[in-house]
């Protein structure tokens, strides 16, 4: 089932034509990975879906509803969670406050989700009353993922969660995302092909504001030529 459908979106930042017709489809229960070099337009794509960088053309459909012209908070309320590239942690607030602000309705399902994610990231439990600005990079990433997860979301947009983390931490974060997949659908922006290819179902490659290649992750794993051509790796 298609959860999110992005069709030919174009986005300007100031006068710059950053996205020049991006299309992709996200199926429920899958991890869809956006690859692409620095400056390709991956972050802008996620921001456009989130309404933070408004689109000027094209359509974004989430659960059958056109969300392309909604304000960000309405898009979030429809069930899309966002983990930005810089994690967007409220540094002056505690871990607990960062989590609490994400829970719009404190009902049973929210508490269940909270318990589940804290079992996945037990570190957060021990850091519960710590100021989040004092957390390590990896802990901040876990907090950002957990925060997006406990919001009543059906889809998570996760922007380069491995950025700046030690390899062992990267692995941990990837495993966590794989486990979160049991509960939610994920769009993952990632430059680390090897990590992303182990957990991704489908991929899209962004270049200069366009999608230049896409398919099943398995196909990309077997297609050395495409990897060389689009990602510059063997």
């Amino acid at each position: 089932m298609t959860l999110l459908k992005v069709e030919e979106i174009e986005t300007y930042i100031e006068q710059y034509h950053i996205l020049q017709g991006i299309s992709f489809e996200v199926l429920k229960g899958e991890i869809t990975v956006l690859f692409g070099r620095n400056g390709a337009g991956k972050t802008t794509t996620l921001r456009s879906v989130m309404g933070l960088s408004p689109i000027s053309k094209g359509q974004i459909t989430f659960r059958g509803e056109n969300i392309g012209s909604l304000p960000t908070y309405e898009i979030a309320r429809r069930g899309i969670g966002y983990v930005p590239e810089d994690q967007g942690i409220f540094k002056d607030l505690t871990v607990e406050e960062n989590m609490r602000i994400s829970i719009l309705k404190r009902d049973e399902s929210a508490l269940e989700k909270l318990e589940w994610i804290l079992n996945l990231f037990p570190d957060l439990k021990t850091l519960w009353h710590r100021k989040s600005g004092l957390l390590s990079g990896g802990q901040k990433q876990m907090l950002a993922l957990a925060r997006a997860y406990v919001g009543d979301n059906e889809l998570l947009l996760v922007d380069e969660p491995s950025k700046g983390l030690a390899p062992i931490m990267v692995e941990k974060v990837m495993q966590a995302i794989e486990q979160m997949k049991e509960k939610t659908t994920v769009v993952l922006v990632e430059q680390n092909f090897f990590m992303a290819s182990t957990i991704g179902d489908r991929f899209y490659i962004v270049d200069e504001g366009r999608i230049v290649h896409h398919g099943l992750m398995q196909e990309l794993k077997e297609d050395e030529d495409a990897r060389k051509k689009y990602l510059g790796i063997a």
Partner: protein, 288 residues
């Protein structure tokens, strides 16, 4: 030095500090949350004073005067935010020009409604007079202002730390985009903060009226300038910073006015420059 003088300067300084705080905390949050430079706040202060005096004269109830002034301030704040501030989000130059204009208009409107001459404002009988404490005279109304100020400070702190609205406001000061990405309509939250700030400015005005005994349409100016100094010293977006800096500026003002009257504003400026040199984001300023 005379203990009597020192205690009185302390009381005066604290009372003035509290009045400045009522203006500054709103200004600080308004800037911290939406980057809005608002120079019209002094106008709300003066309106609070006029509306309060008017209600007091017509009803004889100081409590009603305070309530009326605050509600009036909130109402003016609502109108200002909705129709004047909202269209100029994100444009500092326009904000400065427009809100300065609003300040002038508010002040002129006072003259239209209540005439060009200053009005007298009386202290309500039960707050009038003073207490004698071992040779030291304490003026009741000034202590009253200090108590109200402390109560408000505690109230705002509780609002910010114990409620969901407060949590969202604190988060919004840190990262506006993320608050929206979590499902909050930041514009609505800002409207609420703006109205609260307007109400507090008006409260400052109505409390100042009996303290100074006379009100005039430009009375907001001086306090607005002090409030801006306080916001810069305390750090944009920090209520705690505003509180500390208000007391600092209030006290330094009172002591300087007594000992070196010519320098009293200069000292505040100096204080501001010093803080800016040492910590440009202000005492409690947040690194974003």
């Amino acid at each position: 030095m005379n203990l009597d003088v020192i205690v009185n300067l302390l009381v005066n300084g604290l009372a003035t500090g509290m009045l400045i705080f009522l203006l500054a905390s709103g200004l600080s949050l308004i800037f911290g949350l939406m980057d809005v430079l608002n120079f019209s706040h002094g106008g709300l202060f003066a309106w609070g004073a006029y509306m309060g005096v008017w209600v007091y004269v017509s009803t004889g109830s100081f409590l009603l005067a305070v309530v009326g002034a605050v509600l009036g301030g909130v109402a003016i704040g609502f109108i200002l935010e909705r129709w004047i501030i909202r269209p100029i989000y994100g444009n500092h130059l326009q904000q400065i020009l427009v809100t300065l204009g609003v300040m002038l208009v508010l002040s002129e409107l006072l003259k239209v409604f209540w005439g060009p001459n200053p009005l007298n404002a009386a202290v309500p009988p039960y707050l009038d007079g003073s207490w004698q404490l071992g040779g030291i005279i304490l003026i009741k109304y000034r202590l009253f202002i200090i108590i109200v100020g402390i109560l408000l400070l505690v109230g705002i702190q509780l609002l910010l730390t114990r409620t969901k609205l407060g949590l969202v406001v604190r988060a919004g000061v840190l990262n506006k985009e993320m608050v929206q990405a979590l499902g909050y309509n930041i514009k609505r939250i800002f409207s609420i903060v703006f109205m609260l700030g307007a109400g507090m400015a008006a409260l400052g005005g109505v409390l100042l009226a009996p303290y100074s005994g006379v009100i005039f349409s430009e009375m907001g100016m001086q306090f607005a300038i002090l409030a801006f100094i306080v916001v810069v010293i305390g750090g944009m977006g920090s209520v705690q910073g505003s509180a500390v800096a208000s007391v600092l500026v209030g006290l330094s003002g009172a002591f300087m006015a007594y000992y070196v009257p010519d320098l009293s504003l200069a000292v505040n400026m100096l204080l501001m420059v010093l803080v800016l040199l040492i910590k440009p984001s202000g005492l409690y300023g947040l690194k974003r």
